[in-house]
């Protein structure tokens, strides 16, 4: 808008394609570093958005948090974020809709401890760093609960995820709860090991495509287009794994080998898994149930003052519509 940085003219080797031309009718989609979201980059680079007639302005965020606050302020229409953060945004008064589950974390969120700490029980009285209010914090508390400990039994150190990993490597804390690719960094500390991970708590950490309600109401077609693009991308990755991994590893800033390690820790959700997750249920496999758990957790740690209304959070129309039209795989 009359304010353009000349640096955008400069080409570099690490460039991963340019964003779509700005037009009135487009989706401004944000995403950040998480294995479940890197496929968006593939969609962009391989022209999958265009193929689905969905103009997308794909916005990369170095900081996951910034992507959330940008969605909250309405500067983008959609973002890739976890269920927990979506709940806390709603607690903060933003009206959001979850239309798609990208993946579940099955090991890419880890609690990592220094040598000498061999069980969750050993964490008692120790310094544990995590980013306050995030899914990793949630994971940490769930792990403690399972081991019969409570939040008060550890010394919690609130640190941004990257800094938490740094502090752990620097020997300043005894354990951290972080997500990939910061797990790799934390594990660089000699002798450190994983205590438990999201694998042990299936369903507790799910990642979604989240829209503002206003956009869903006004541009249902574009939302549908984006959902369709996502599944088309998954198909593309399956068909061309080498090319896709190259793109995703580049975006993540790690080598292809390293990137492949993350693949196990993230279970990308198929249409079917999506359809199963949306209905109300009484375990973590059900999104509305998980959302309620999350909201309780946020309330307990004092980050959200009142438990928000979650009844209209999930909207499975778009996934359903895709499932009906799509050829069965």
């Amino acid at each position: 808008v009359g304010c353009s940085n000349p640096a955008t003219q400069i080409k570099t080797n690490s460039e991963t394609g340019t964003s779509a031309p700005v037009s009135a009718n487009l989706v401004r989609l944000g995403f950040s570093a998480w294995p479940g979201w890197f496929p968006w980059q593939v969609a962009q680079d391989q022209g999958i958005f265009a193929a689905n007639k969905t103009p997308v302005d794909l916005k990369w965020f170095d900081g996951y948090l910034e992507s959330i606050s940008t969605l909250n302020t309405g500067q983008i229409d959609a973002n890739s974020q976890t269920l927990g953060d979506t709940v806390s945004s709603i607690g903060g008064g933003t009206d959001l809709v979850v239309v798609l589950t990208n993946d579940n974390s099955t090991g890419n969120d880890k609690v990592i401890a220094r040598p000498g700490i061999n069980s969750v029980a050993d964490l008692k009285g120790k310094k544990v760093a995590a980013e306050e209010g995030t899914v990793d914090h949630f994971l940490l508390l769930q792990g403690l609960k399972k081991a019969g400990l409570s939040a008060k039994d550890i010394q919690f150190v609130p640190l941004e995820t990257g800094k938490a990993a740094t502090a752990f490597v620097g020997g300043q804390v005894d354990a951290v709860a972080v997500f990939a690719p910061f797990t790799t960094q934390a594990l660089k500390r000699g002798g450190s090991k994983e205590l438990f991970s999201s694998k042990d708590f299936p369903g507790s950490i799910s990642d979604h495509l989240v829209f503002t309600r206003k956009f869903v109401n006004e541009h249902g077609d574009l939302v549908q287009g984006l959902v369709n693009s996502w599944f088309a991308t998954l198909d593309y990755i399956k068909a061309n794994p080498d090319k896709a991994y190259e793109i995703m590893a580049k975006r993540a800033g790690v080598s292809i080998e390293e990137y492949k390690q993350y693949a196990d820790g993230t279970s990308i959700f198929s249409v079917e898994q999506n359809l199963k997750a949306f209905p109300v249920g009484n375990n973590m496999a059900s999104l509305p149930f998980a959302a309620k758990q999350m909201s309780q957790f946020l309330n307990e740690v004092g980050l959200v003052k009142t438990q928000p209304d979650l009844s209209k959070l999930f909207d499975d129309r778009f996934v359903k519509a895709y499932a009906e039209k799509a050829p069965k795989s």
């Binding site: 948090l65 959330i68 606050s69 909250n72 302020t73 806390s88 945004s89 607690g91 903060g92 008064g93 933003t94 310094k127 760093a129 306050e132 209010g133 919690f156 150190v157 609130p158 640190l159 941004e160 800094k163 740094t166 502090a167 490597v169 620097g170 300043q172 804390v173 980050l303 959200v304």
Partner: protein, 283 residues
């Protein structure tokens, strides 16, 4: 001196101009006390009024711009829960310690740099270089070396103040009249005595002024420093509020910091008046 003839009769070209008298637009002259006071009060109430009008009649989402009422309410809430006091004390302590240490060290260093051209040559390029380096860049290194306690937070503020303050103190030394230094030599003073008993007292007002400016710079760093594993503090309160878009709490934090800052500013100005009443120059 032989002079040419006067070339023009200029009087015919000059249009008489008289300057209207004015009170508000007085230039470099004092204005009457009551007007001054009125303007001072306007300065702080007018923005408040505009704010109130916008939020009351503008139908703005309070998430985007909370009304003064909202902010007051949030302030009250944080106050009664005790959080605000805790945050304020924590931040005050950090800024206080970081700034004081930086001031305490930078004053002698700056005075030495200003007094001895050799020390100046030795330190100025290095300090000039470091001064430009953004203090937040040091956070990962500070966590690595100093941990996650108070040390890295205080150190960050220290780094943000020390280099600026040294260079600014250095600059004040050049205003010491050379005559005064030479007079001291003539009275039998040696270099050390000139430094401690003549230069130092003479630059005191300049030092206080530099510190006044850099205290403000220290508060600028409070948010960044409290990103390092803080569990309380005004900066942390603001950044958490920013994440959850509790704009009212951001405003509470900002207003508290602004008020604290202004209070210290006035204290520094008072200090300046009291300790430097010998200075004939008005500051």
């Amino acid at each position: 001196m032989s002079q040419p003839d006067k070339p023009h009769s200029i009087q015919s070209l000059i249009k008489p101009r008289t300057m209207g008298s004015t009170v508000f637009w007085r230039l470099a002259e004092d204005i009457p006390r009551p007007l001054n006071l009125t303007l001072l009060i306007t300065s702080l109430t007018l923005p408040l009024l505009i704010w109130w009008l916008i939020t009351t009649f503008g139908k703005i989402d309070p998430k985007f711009l909370p009304s003064p009422g909202n902010v007051l309410e949030a302030g009250g809430r944080l106050w009664t829960s005790g959080d605000l006091l805790k945050d304020t004390v924590a931040s005050l302590w950090r800024v206080g310690v970081g700034f004081s240490l930086a001031a305490l060290l930078s004053i002698p260093v700056g005075v030495m740099m200003g007094s001895f051209p050799s020390i100046r040559a030795l330190l100025e390029p290095l300090f000039g270089l470091i001064r430009y380096m953004p203090a937040p860049a040091f956070i990962p290194l500070l966590i690595l070396y100093l941990g996650i306690g108070e040390e890295p937070k205080v150190t960050l503020i220290f780094i943000g103040v020390f280099f600026f303050n040294s260079l600014m103190v250095m600059d004040t030394v050049k205003f010491v009249p050379k005559d005064l230094i030479e007079a001291t030599y003539m009275l039998g003073g040696n270099r050390r005595e000139v430094l401690t008993q003549v230069i130092l007292p003479h630059v005191l007002p300049g030092i206080i002024d530099a510190c006044r400016i850099n205290l403000a710079a220290a508060w600028q760093l409070v948010i960044v420093s409290e990103l390092i594993a803080a569990t309380e503090g005004l900066g942390r309160r603001i950044s958490v509020a920013g994440r959850f878009l509790r704009t009212d709490e951001i405003f509470v934090g900002l207003i508290v910091i602004g008020t604290i800052g202004l209070t210290f500013d006035l204290m520094f100005q008072y200090l300046l008046q009291v300790t430097c009443n010998w200075s004939s120059q008005k500051r």
